[in-house]
Structure formats: structure tokens, C-alpha cells
Symmetry: C2
Subunit: 169 residues, 2 copies
DNA sequence: AGTTTATGTCAGCCTTGTTGACATTCCAAG
DNA sequence: CTTGGAATGTCAACAAGGCTGACATAAACT
């Protein structure tokens, strides 16, 4: 179907990027993102949480002691939206909020034992899916995967990507 | 941080997939998906539409004449949710709904001229972003990217992926 | 004739995003 | 010391877009 008529239809002739090939990339992102979130979503639904809670938990786990403002920058939502989610997590004992030592306005966020337990369950599920995909695709594909994804981010987000700084309380 | 201590920390030794490398893959998906939807989101917001409308428009454009049931399977939402979106698009003249010739229960969906115009704007923006990412990453990376994404999909969705059948009215 | 299928629609609820307004705390500059 | 502004929290209201349940209709199938 409108593959170009020339050679190999498997998507190999990638020097010319036809609209059709780009369309497939777009749809691949759509379908893959759904698969990517499916397993955590199931776990979260059982506990009465949503994807927003997952994101907060993930980034607090990645950078323990991160501040609310920091999280806001990474997650790209309003403080009100984040606050609603954080309040639930704090009230239910998954996240601890400590007043900053140097700057007492800041709140530093940490996962509690319960929080770590949920985070582990979530990321185990997600890692299993990703590991399976990696295994099917092979090592070179993984490198390409990451390279394309990184190039697709907004520049501001590339800054946050992969940076695990411990954010001293 | 827990990068393994051995060789190249850039994420090259991909035969052993450390949790840290998988975490980076997970975050890459998160940040990249945001970048991926950012441009269309801006265009949609101007017109008073959302991502749900975009998805409907995209798949109707991909498979003109597709039925509502078909779309439901692809999009993975309830008919009530989809119907709300479709009603808006039909009322505002972006989508046309034709009663099926063979089976008159079915409605076949088509983009109108206006619908095609918006679709073009949306996919131009998205394709530009993807083309830029592809160019930065190179042809081999693109192949890997697509391979990993396809492996990350739910099996049911792999069925829909890339299939452009014209769905005879 | 009765059942199933495809669709539409109404009502209500939830999550998660938004804006706007306002209070508190507290660092830092004047 | 006072004031400005930054960081945070919180209240209210709203919208998009998911969801469930219930019900209606028309057409197809058996």
C-alpha cells in the first residue's frame, strides 16, 4: 500500500523516509506506549492509584530527596496537580516529605518502605516488558531505540534524562 | 551510580541489561512520548480538540471507511468515549459517517476536506519531529527503534500495526 | 420470531490536567 | 527591620477524556 513501489517493503531503505514509513513510526510509538504502560496500570488500579502516582513514585525513587519544584520541572504539570497526587501518597504512607535543612521552605521527598515496595513492583513489571522487547530486538536495536527516543525529546527534557543526582537535603 | 563499574558507561554493553539501563529506557519512553505529542497538542489546543480527537482523525485517515467497531478495537476505549469524540468531529464537519451498503448497521467513517486539512497539519508536525530524530540517530538506529517498539506492543496491537486495509463500504 | 450485533445516547462517576486566588513560611536584599 | 519574592500548600471551580450501567434502535442472523 503506497510503500513506494521500489524495493524492500520491510522499512529498510531509510535514507528516503517516505511519509508512509514515518506514519508507521508514529503508530509504533502510539501502540508501544500503550504496551509500555499496561502492566504498571494494572498494578496501580488494584491499589487505587493512577499513572500520575506512578510518575511521582518513579522520580522520587530515582532521586531521593528531590524537591517539589524539581519534580514539577520534570513532570511538566502544575503544582496543584502534583500536590493532589503527592498528598495522597504522603497520607497513605508511601512518600515522606521532609522540610529542607538549608532552605526550610523546600520539601524533600523520599519513598518509605511501603513506597519502595510499590515502586519495585511497578518497575519490575515495566522492566520485564522492556527486557523482553530488548531480547527480541537485539543489542543493536536497543542502542538505536534509545538514540531515536533521546532525539525525539524536547531539549529541556534531555537535560533531565539519565541524570540521577542525590539532591542533598 | 550503579553503572556496573566495568567498561563504557554510555550504555554500550547491552548483553547484560542492568536495571539502571532499563530504567533509562523507561524514562526515555516517558520523555520521548511527551516530545512526540507536544507539537500536535499545540495545534489541537488552538482548534479546541484534544489527543483523543487526534487519534480518531489519524486512524480514519489511515483507513478511510473504517467502521466504529474497528476504531474501538484499535483505540482501546469504550464506545461511549469514542462516540463523544466522533460526535464532535462529525458535528463540526471534519468527519463524515456513511451508513454501510452491505451491512446497514455499520457506519463507515471518512475525513472531509476540512478533516484532511487538520490531519495534514497534525501529521506534518509529528513527521517533522520524527524525521529530525531519525536524521540525528541515523538509519540503523531507526530500524532498531522500530523493532524494539514493535516488540513492546501488546500482541493484539501488533495485529493492527502497519495494516492499512481499505475497508470496503 | 427471537437473538445477536452495531451503533447511539443519557446519566453519572473518576482521574488528572487546568486557572485563579490566597495564606504561610522564610531567605535575602535594602 | 522591613519588604520583596520564592517555595510551598490549599481551596474552589472547571474541562477533557477515561469508565460503567442502562436503554433504544435497526439490521442481520438463525
Amino acid at each position: 500500500m503506497a510503500e513506494g513501489g521500489s524495493g524492500s517493503p520491510g522499512g529498510e531503505s531509510l535514507l528516503f523516509l517516505t511519509d508512509e514509513q514515518l506514519r508507521k513510526g508514529i503508530e509504533a510509538m502510539f501502540f508501544a506506549y500503550r504496551g509500555f504502560t499496561a502492566d504498571p496500570d494494572r498494578i496501580l488500579a488494584e491499589k487505587g492509584y493512577g499513572r500520575a502516582h506512578h510518575r511521582a513514585i518513579h522520580f522520587i525513587n530515582r532521586s531521593p530527596g528531590t524537591t517539589v519544584n524539581n519534580l514539577l520541572g520534570i513532570l511538566g504539570v502544575t503544582k496543584q496537580s502534583l500536590n493532589r497526587v503527592l498528598r495522597a501518597l504522603i497520607d497513605e504512607g508511601l512518600v515522606e516529605s521532609r522540610v529542607g535543612k538549608r532552605d526550610k521552605r523546600e520539601r524533600h521527598l523520599y519513598l518509605t518502605g511501603t513506597g519502595v515496595t510499590l515502586e519495585t513492583a511497578l518497575s519490575n513489571a515495566q522492566r520485564a516488558r522492556m527486557r523482553a522487547a530488548y531480547r527480541v530486538a537485539g543489542p543493536e536495536a536497543v542502542a538505536g531505540f534509545r538514540m531515536v527516543l533521546e532525539a525525539m525529546m524536547d531539549p529541556d527534557m534531555q537535560r533531565h534524562f539519565g541524570a540521577v543526582r542525590e539532591a542533598g537535603a
